[in-house]
């Protein structure tokens, strides 16, 4: 059967509620299959805690396929742990070694207040989408889908950006707590497409300014790209910045005509 990882020490952040004082709690795990995922390790630990009559550790998770973006966790200080391009739910114990001490914390960012234990509130990401992360196209009025040919490289580049799962790892990894990779990915996805042109600059302006209400500023560390489970390139930030800059005169021009 599968190989075992033994003698693990988990140092896990516990916090009762948003206003409570948190602390690290240590748990010892004698052995776990290398085939188990990191979240299955937490499942097993939680089963043990319940058996001991203690509160289970609260952590966000859902699809466990790396696509819903619900799971989070700073593992040894890295957002989604040590494996490149991998969300926590897809991280397997074979990435760790026997005898390791593993520190598990919630996302670290001022914009993401802690709810309980390892769970945070990522609501501000939705607030950014609400102001411009869409193409206005009410149901019913769309022309035939093949009326707008989109060159394959453009469609591919838009898709590269659209892969963002909205997990917030980019924010958690950023020393400034900036959400530029998240916002840039959505701006790039929509602004590259022909359908997105009508609202291109209004979108960039609204989304960037909403982002700045909640999040820190980008200073091009590139930590976000390294932490992104979808390996989204920081090129999207450059495109967003260019469109934001242009919006400052393009939007005025459009407005002055009306």
């Amino acid at each position: 059967m599968s190989e075992l990882i033994t003698n693990l020490t988990l140092r896990i952040w516990r916090q009762g509620g948003p206003d409570d004082i948190g602390r690290f709690e240590e748990h010892y795990v004698e052995e776990i299959s290398a085939e188990a995922s990191f979240l299955e390790l937490l499942d097993i630990l939680n089963e043990r805690l319940i058996a001991e009559g203690k509160d289970a550790i609260a952590f966000d998770h859902d699809c466990r396929e790396g696509i819903c973006g619900t799971c989070s966790l700073m593992i040894d200080g890295q957002a989604h742990g040590p494996q490149l391009g991998t969300a926590t739910c897809q991280l397997h114990m074979r990435t760790f070694h026997s005898g390791q001490v593993i520190v598990v914390e919630p996302w670290r960012a001022r914009a993401f207040p802690i709810i309980r234990d390892l769970m945070v509130d990522r609501g501000p990401l939705d607030r950014i989408v609400e102001v411009g992360g869409f193409i206005t196209s009410p149901t019913g009025g769309a022309p035939d889908a093949n009326l707008i040919p989109i060159p394959q490289p453009v469609a591919e580049a838009a898709m590269d950006a659209a892969e963002c799962i909205g997990c917030g790892a980019c924010v958690a990894a950023c020393p400034n707590g900036a959400a530029n990779l998240f916002t840039g990915a959505k701006v790039t996805h929509l602004n590259l497409l022909p359908q997105g042109q009508a609202e291109r600059y209004a979108r960039a302006e609204a989304m960037v300014e909403k982002m700045e209400e909640y999040f820190g500023s980008c200073t091009n560390h590139g930590e976000c790209e390294a932490a992104c489970p979808k390996s989204i390139s920081i090129d999207v930030i450059a495109l967003m910045n260019a469109d934001y800059l242009k919006s400052k005169f393009k939007n005025r021009k459009a407005l002055s005509r009306t």
Binding site: I50, C63, C68, G133, Q152, H189
Partner: protein, 644 residues
């Protein structure tokens, strides 16, 4: 045991020729004046494809909409995990596709157990879905000339599936989510996140609203509205191990069922043939590998029993490409139920592969030889990478290992042509209803149905219900029925916390799942189902006595959430087994070992069972009343489904 139903539900199918019914319906539907729409409040529970598309469209029309999701963000609904694609009868390939052909394939794929009129409407609106999604900026795959690309999927002989890499569900859901968030930003939708439905409320035979529990604070609260839409997904997690997300559950549909909504065909569950085999006992979740892989992958096992050589050492002559052998015309693209059973038989015959001998190979070597590694990689890179992350094996070097797993549930709340349940004012959309897939769903049809219901069906049918209610008062949340339902919900969650037993909700869920999988999974027998029907109530009794839920009641408590969901799974599981026991035939995902042909194919009984079983709550799932909706086929003729 059999409780014969006396009532035949009225499916409200419009008159006229099949192809004209939807047009006729829309022409006759009652409308609500744009200025009056804001006088109506619609509550939509669930923000997956069906929910998000309904929320966006209803809000664009001008209704007051309140949206409920138990996730932190509506974008996390499990539609996001659909990989392969979405069907539409666009005939962009010029390969003979048409609305009629998509309709026919869906009826046939569903083993002649779906309602003709609903399925035809689905095929009709499929073309509008693609237009709508492209307008929203969904980045579907393109040809070099810039036009949309297609791929093939199981159960069809045309290429009608649109896709966005292996993340079609994600991109379609984000499209709908963005339209919905736009309405949230405009103030037309009130969004309740991290809130779970715990009951529906019926006043004077109409759905008056819902009761929710705030997952962060434990607050139980009522919401009143003119109409309620449940778009809360399927119940595949009744098996514990499934490809569903961890939080997927039957609670919303089940609580509505307990208030009078009939539950149709619960035994129709789909076991998806291409999942990564279970690696260990403690595993919490199975991972799907998109069916689209079967476009280029070849399924095989060793011809010899107990052949444990590495795949590369097994010569071509000693491999059994069993799908190509058994079903030459569809080959590796045979429909899901058929492919799943074939895999089960291969493994049961002692020819399973992998460390636990619990899988079959899905091999890309031929495709790489034919198309080159680059082409194969560009089609499936994200799936190959996902597989490698989970198994530490690279499918470019060794064949993938796959095995069937619970994936989708065709059964669900009974709805009529208007997607209305048997409780007036309560609608059900997407996987949560039973309507379009019969006994088996074809690949790439779930996304199509979810979006069809939300974008193009509900907005028309709801207005017919609302129009006569204009300026009529509706019961407020202070109505005694709301107060009573709130009290019951508080009592229920209090009880889970106070049971003070020794075993966790997960423990019971795992045990329940094992019983359901063994006796009501890929193959069912009278003996097995009867055993399940005695084992499940016994385990449920233990659950009620020996449950242990730790943690607080007034803060987030995932153990407590789980307890409520497992409770409802127990009751559903009993109904599911009863439904399977009463359906004395094999059809689609429901395979009763007693009813099979000599070659082991499903043997339907169209004389006795060409009907929908719509179960009515009586206070005990073991005593539910079985009502029957006869399926009348005007356009298609019964055929033995053959993919040979």
């Amino acid at each position: 045991m059999m409780t014969a139903g006396t009532t035949t539900p009225d499916a409200k199918i419009p008159d006229g020729a099949l192809a004209d019914k939807w047009e006729t319906y829309k022409s006759d539907a009652r409308l609500v004046n744009p200025a009056n729409k804001r006088k109506f409040k619609i509550l939509v529970v669930g923000t997956g494809l069906a929910g998000a598309s309904a929320i966006a469209t209803l809000a664009e029309l001008g209704y007051q909409v309140e949206a409920f999701t138990f996730h932190d963000s509506p974008r996390r609904a499990h539609s996001i995990a659909a990989q392969g694609g979405i069907n539409a009868a666009k005939n962009y390939r010029g390969d003979g596709d048409s609305v009629h052909r998509l309709f026919y394939d869906t009826i046939k794929g569903g083993d002649f157990r779906a309602r003709e009129s609903n399925v035809h409407r689905l095929a009709e609106v499929s073309v509008d879905i693609i237009d709508q999604c492209v307008a929203q900026g969904v980045p579907f795959a393109r040809e070099y000339g810039g036009l949309l690309d297609n791929r093939s999927f199981g159960g069809a002989q045309v290429s009608r599936t649109f896709y966005a890499r292996g993340q079609t569900g994600q991109q379609l859901l984000l499209g709908a989510y963005q339209q919905m968030e736009r309405q949230v930003g405009l103030g037309n939708v009130k969004l309740w996140n991290r809130v779970e439905l715990v009951d529906t409320v019926v006043v004077e035979d109409r759905c008056a609203g819902i009761v929710t529990r705030d997952l962060l604070t434990g607050e139980v609260r009522s919401h009143a509205g003119h109409a309620v839409v449940l778009a809360t997904g399927g119940y595949g997690n009744v098996f514990f191990l499934s490809t569903n997300a961890m939080a997927c559950n039957v609670t919303a549909a089940w609580r509505a069922h307990r208030r009078g909504a009939w539950f149709a065909n619960p035994c129709y569950t789909q076991i998806h043939p291409t999942c990564i085999p279970q690696s260990d006992e403690f595993q919490s979740k199975l991972t799907l590998m998109s069916e689209s892989l079967r476009n280029d992958g070849r399924v095989w096992v060793p011809s010899q029993v107990d052949d444990v050589r590495p795949p590369a050492d097994i010569p071509e002559a000693e491999r059994d490409y069993y799908l190509e052998r058994l079903y030459p015309s569809f080959g590796n693209l045979a429909p899901r139920d058929i492919s799943s059973r074939a895999a089960k038989r291969a493994v049961d015959s002692g020819r399973g592969v992998g460390p636990n001998r619990n899988g079959v190979y899905l091999d890309f070597a031929d495709a790489v030889g034919r198309l080159g590694l680059d082409t194969v990689w560009s089609r499936y890179s994200n799936l190959f990478e996902m597989y490698e992350r989970i198994t530490a094996e690279d499918p470019r070097d060794v064949p993938m290992r796959i095995y069937p797993a619970s994936h989708y549930t065709m059964g669900g709340l009974w709805v009529d042509y208007e997607l209305a349940t048997t409780i007036p004012g309560l609608y059900c959309a997407g996987e949560a209803n039973f309507s379009d897939h019969g006994a088996n769903r074809l690949g790439a049809s779930a996304l199509m149905q979810g979006l069809a219901d939300g974008y193009f069906v509900l907005p028309y049918t709801i207005s017919s219900y609302l129009a006569p209610m204009l300026n009529q008062p509706i019961p407020g949340t202070d109505h005694p029925e709301f107060v009573k339902a709130e009290g019951e919900a508080r009592e229920r969650f209090g009880r889970y916390l106070q049971t003070g037993g020794t075993r966790s909700p997960d423990h019971f869920h795992r045990e329940l799942g094992k019983i359901v999988w063994d006796h009501c999974g890929m193959e069912r027998t009278v003996q097995g189902l009867e055993k399940a029907l005695s084992d499940i109530p016994a385990l449920y009794e233990e659950f009620n006595k020996d449950l242990r839920v730790t943690g607080p009641s007034d803060r987030i408590n995932q153990t407590l959430e789980k307890a409520g969901r497992v409770d409802d799974f127990f009751q559903l599981a009993m109904l599911m087994c009863r439904d399977a026991l009463e359906r004395n035939e094999s059809c689609g995902g429901h395979f009763r070992a007693e009813y099979q042909t000599e070659d082991g194919e499903a043997l339907r009984d169209d004389e006795q069972f060409a009907h929908v079983a719509a179960w009515e709550w009586t206070g005990d799932p073991l005593q539910a009343t079985r009502n029957v909706e006869e399926l009348v086929y005007e356009s298609v003729h019964f055929q033995t489904r053959s993919y040979k």
